[in-house]
Symmetry: C2
Amino acid sequence: MKTNAENKRKLIFDEEGLKLLAQRLKQLRSEKKITQEELAYRSELTLSQIARIETVKINPTVSTMFRIAKALDVKITELFDFESIGTTPTSKER
Amino acid sequence: MKTNAENKRKLIFDEEGLKLLAQRLKQLRSEKKITQEELAYRSELTLSQIARIETVKINPTVSTMFRIAKALDVKITELFDFESIGTTPTSKER
DNA sequence: GTAATTTATAGCACAAATGCTATAACATTA
DNA sequence: TAATGTTATAGCATTTGTGCTATAAATTAC
């Protein structure tokens, strides 16, 4: 019988950016009103993979994100467009 | 004795986006005048990993790119900013 | 031109991403 | 509340990313 800790993979990425990415993906997907399954189909990924990304279970590869962006018909930068708020103090940054 | 083909890993990503990303990374790195080694140090990645990314030998993970962006002191979107020319005609695009 | 620096390769070990399949949990609606 | 649709989990097999170490190749400085 495994403990909870043992049940989890050791994940070493620990990126809060991945949470933001997941949020952004969910947002874009719901804006476009498509299901995870549909997105999986369009991106030629699997449903489980889309779900794992949105629930921050994994640290996806760059080409996976390219596929998703293409499937969503957005630029890759749009998928990552959440750091634009609060990184460079150039603009007044809310 | 292995043939050339056998010597190569089967790579399934085949993303031309990764080539662009590699170019962009090289560009940013040389603009900032830092070596691969210095970037590796700052991003807490290895030299070999930086080299593999710049020579498109691998398909890096998202969190690896976050680390690199941070080490270069640019927004993650800047690292992916090569599709911005010619995807959405909405804004006047720089 | 040779020494020093920088970049590219290589192989190994290990952790993790991905596909596949099945199922559970949750939400929506008839 | 059932049925249907959607999202989340789970385990396994396989491929691949990453660190580590060493070395080769290329570039730059002297």
